[in-house]
């Protein structure tokens, strides 16, 4: 008896040490940048928390939202920027140009801001076919017009052959924060419901298959789209009961939930059966050994809504074109803090962890 008490005391002590270590701000200690630093998981977080935030300081940046906030003579604004480096440039369901507009519009939208204006920088590779450039310019114009946002400034650079994979596109966006919105991770409370605006994993899977590395064909199209209509509908339906929004891009829904569970010091319980996944995406994920929960979306958001407004918010979301499959996928709990648990479709429970590096296919 005495022995087992001593043993569990030691175990408690070791668990406490681990928890302290996990709670500490990540340090950036790597000697080189690897692909993992860009994958949106733990390595990316180390880079941001361990290098960028300490260097650039400001309170707005350390919130690590999709867009920074600023006030100018009483006008509430939001600012965001993003670089697009997708390969191939065109893929089923979209292209780099369309992505560059929607992605930046969406970063503003989930911060509760409607995009007012974009800047556009193009880094072009020597030898790029003019027709390819023309197609992307058309795609950018079309996406901007669909999202009702103007391109106000731009820049062009050309780099030598062998760089930039054809083209890189950078966009920055300025938006006006909607007076109905008061969104922040700190607003998330135990009991809040978690809504997802549609089926997951389509963008990332479409890109993986379009690269042709896997000799796998499936009718999967990128979901790239502006999320403002969905955000607008949610704000209308839930107002201040809408606590927080995130677009589930790189790292997928799993990464968004983990990030917010940590930021809000809450736990989340996800019902795997409730998460909409297209059969083709589920099948490709099965073959490649990649969980769609970790795969990128470019037109899906996760919303946290107070329980009393969750039903109305979901109904409103489902009326938005492109969000017909929206679903309530889980709820916020208080314990275990900072963790995301999944009730699997098989009936067991497990931890859905943060991604450590790039999602790599497994051999076994």
């Amino acid at each position: 008896m005495g022995d087992s008490a001593a043993v569990s005391e030691r175990e408690e002590k070791i668990l406490a040490i681990i928890e302290t270590a996990r709670g500490k701000r990540a340090k950036f200690r790597d000697e080189r940048i690897t692909m993992a630093h860009g994958a949106g998981g733990k390595a990316t977080q180390t880079l941001i928390e361990g290098l960028f935030v300490p260097a650039f300081g400001g309170a707005a940046l350390s919130e690590m939202a999709d867009a920074g906030r600023l006030s100018l003579d009483g006008v509430e604004l939001a600012l965001t920027t993003d670089a697009y480096v997708v390969k191939p440039l065109r893929f089923p369901g979209g292209s780099i140009g369309e992505l560059a507009v929607n992605g930046t519009v969406n970063d503003l939208a989930v911060a509760g801001a409607r995009a007012l204006a974009l800047s556009l920088s193009l880094v072009l590779e020597e030898g790029l076919a003019a027709d390819e450039l023309r197609a992307e310019v058309d795609a950018i114009a079309a996406a901007a017009s669909a999202a009702q946002v103007e391109i106000l400034a731009g820049d062009t650079k050309v780099v030598e052959r062998g760089h930039a994979d054809g083209m890189y596109v950078c966009t920055s966006g300025l938006g006006r924060r909607d007076p109905r919105a008061s969104l922040a991770p700190a607003n998330i409370r135990p009991g809040d419901h978690v809504l997802l605006s549609g089926a997951i994993g389509e963008h990332g899977m479409a890109i993986m298959l379009a690269r042709g590395e896997f000799e796998l064909d499936a009718a999967i199209e990128s979901d790239t789209a502006s999320l403002w209509p969905a955000v607008d509908a949610l704000l209308d339906a839930a107002g201040p009961s809408l606590r927080c929004l995130r677009d589930a891009t790189r790292g997928g829904v799993a990464s968004v939930l983990n990030e917010l569970a940590r930021a809000a010091s809450v736990a989340m319980l996800v019902d795997e059966r409730a998460v909409p996944v297209q059969p083709a995406v589920a099948g490709a994920g099965e073959i490649l050994g990649i969980d769609p929960m970790y795969v990128a979306n470019e037109g899906k958001l996760v919303a946290f809504v107070a329980p009393e407004q969750a039903g109305e918010a979901l109904a409103a979301l489902r009326c938005v074109p492109g969000s017909e499959q929206a679903a309530e996928i889980g709820e916020v709990r208080s314990e275990p803090t900072g963790m995301v648990l999944v009730e699997t479709s098989f009936g067991g429970r497990r931890v859905m962890d943060q991604l450590v590096g790039d999602p790599l296919p497994r051999i076994c």
């Binding site: 030691r10 175990e11 070791i14 668990l15 040490i17 681990i18 928890e19 270590a21 000697e31 080189r32 940048i33 690897t34 692909m35 993992a36 733990k42 590395e213 896997f214 000799e215 059969p279 589920a282 099948g283 099965e286 969980d291 275990p336 963790m339 648990l341 999944v342 009730e343 699997t344 479709s345 098989f346 009936g347 067991g348 429970r349 497990r350 931890v351 962890d353 450590v356 590096g357 790599l360 296919p361 497994r362 051999i363 076994c364």
Partner: protein
């Protein structure tokens, strides 16, 4: 998905969980080892262990082919990847395994041309597309993946592809199991047998486990219902005082194995006198190398490979964790020198290894009920 969802039925799962509960002797603690990393993955993915009473403990075995590759061999791979003009190909999850100075992912970041492939045939295709480059495939895995490497080498030979070679780090499953079982302090009650390996070698090679060591083994499939049913079969053997090899995965595994695959294996490979396993040390006749007849496709001969053994840090106790002698947190380096970000032993390398799982989810994992 048809033919998949049927094996993930939650209602049937609950029924099997009930059956397992009825087979458990109250107060007795059961330790069952799932040998194969694929099982570990399914158990984790579907939360299978969450459906078991807490006194039925699953111990993750040595069957993760990626995690068992020792640091010295990762270093060998990186050395070849760094040779000018080489395209180095390997499976995705191998790229993250640390050597003594970084992983293949780090080597890639530093400029080596390291590419992920999904099958050795993809590596051969890259070789044919790049006739002016040397293409090396880092072959890893148990008897499950060894036949596809063997067939690829045969095809390279038949098609006269000269710029293709392979670092063979294939391993066999029986020797490490025997090494575990030889240990006097072993605390395991039974084994969930590796279904994919058995697809190739059959169920017969595992007969020594009940015969010589008195532990039951059930060859199991990889869907959650397969695993629960296998656990029930093991517990039933224990309850009835039986001890034998049973085959739960009959829809795929013939008792005698795949004779043609075995033939190809013996043509292309031969046993190494011994092979080093991360965390387990040297085990006799546990690794494969290319046979004399295929020596010209052996990258270890074609390139100068350091072949330096990098010892696991002395304090690493993966062997004891695998045998179920100690819990992860009882290891001297657990959580301090050995963490998921900077792993030392095999149990910390894969996110599903016993130590990594305990590091990440320990507090949550202890909430199950004891019957």
């Amino acid at each position: 998905m048809k033919f998949v969802d049927e094996f993930r039925d939650a209602a049937l799962g609950r029924a099997l969980a009930g059956e397992i509960l009825s087979l458990v002797e109250p107060g007795r603690h059961y330790k069952v080892m799932e040998v194969c990393g694929g099982h570990t993955h399914s158990i984790y993915k579907y939360g299978v262990d969450d459906l078991l009473p807490a006194n039925v403990e699953l111990v993750h075995g040595p069957g993760c082919p990626v995690c068992v590759i020792p640091m010295g061999r990762v270093d060998d791979g990186i050395a070849v990847a760094n040779v000018a003009g080489v395209i180095f190909t390997c499976f995705g999850d191998m790229m993250r395994v640390p050597g003594s100075d970084g992983s293949l992912l780090d080597a890639k970041a530093a400029g080596a041309d390291v590419r992920m492939v999904y099958s050795p045939l993809d590596a051969l295709r890259i070789a044919k597309q790049n006739p002016d480059r040397e293409v090396v495939f880092f072959a890893i895995g148990f008897e499950t993946t060894a036949p596809s490497t063997a067939l690829t080498l045969k095809r390279a030979r038949a098609e006269g592809v000269k710029n293709f070679s392979c670092i063979c780090s294939h391993v066999t499953i029986v020797p490490p199991l025997r090494a575990l079982l030889e240990s006097p302090d072993l605390r395991l009650d039974g084994f969930i047998g590796p279904g994919h390996v058995a697809t190739v070698v059959g169920a017969r090679p595992f007969e020594f486990i009940p015969a010589d060591y008195g532990r039951p083994l059930v060859v199991a499939g990889f869907e959650p219902l397969d695993i629960l049913q296998s656990i029930a079969m093991i517990l039933r053997q224990l309850a009835q005082g039986r001890c034998e090899v049973e085959n739960q995965y009959k829809r795929v595994v013939p008792y005698e194995g795949n004779l043609r695959a075995l033939e190809v294996l013996s043509e292309v490979f031969e046993l190494r006198p011994h092979f080093e396993w991360r965390g387990l040390g040297f085990i006799s006749h546990s690794g494969l190398k290319l046979s004399e007849a295929y020596a010209d496709l052996d990258a270890e001969l074609r390139f100068s490979v350091p072949g330096v053994r990098v010892a696991d840090p002395k304090a690493c106790q993966c062997g004891e964790v695998l045998k179920g002698v100690i819990k992860p947190w009882e290891c001297k380096v657990f959580g301090t020198a050995c963490t998921p970000e900077r792993p030392i032993g095999t149990c910390m390398v894969s996110s599903e290894g016993a130590c990594a799982a305990y590091y990440n989810f320990g507090r949550f994992a202890r909430e199950r009920e004891v019957v």
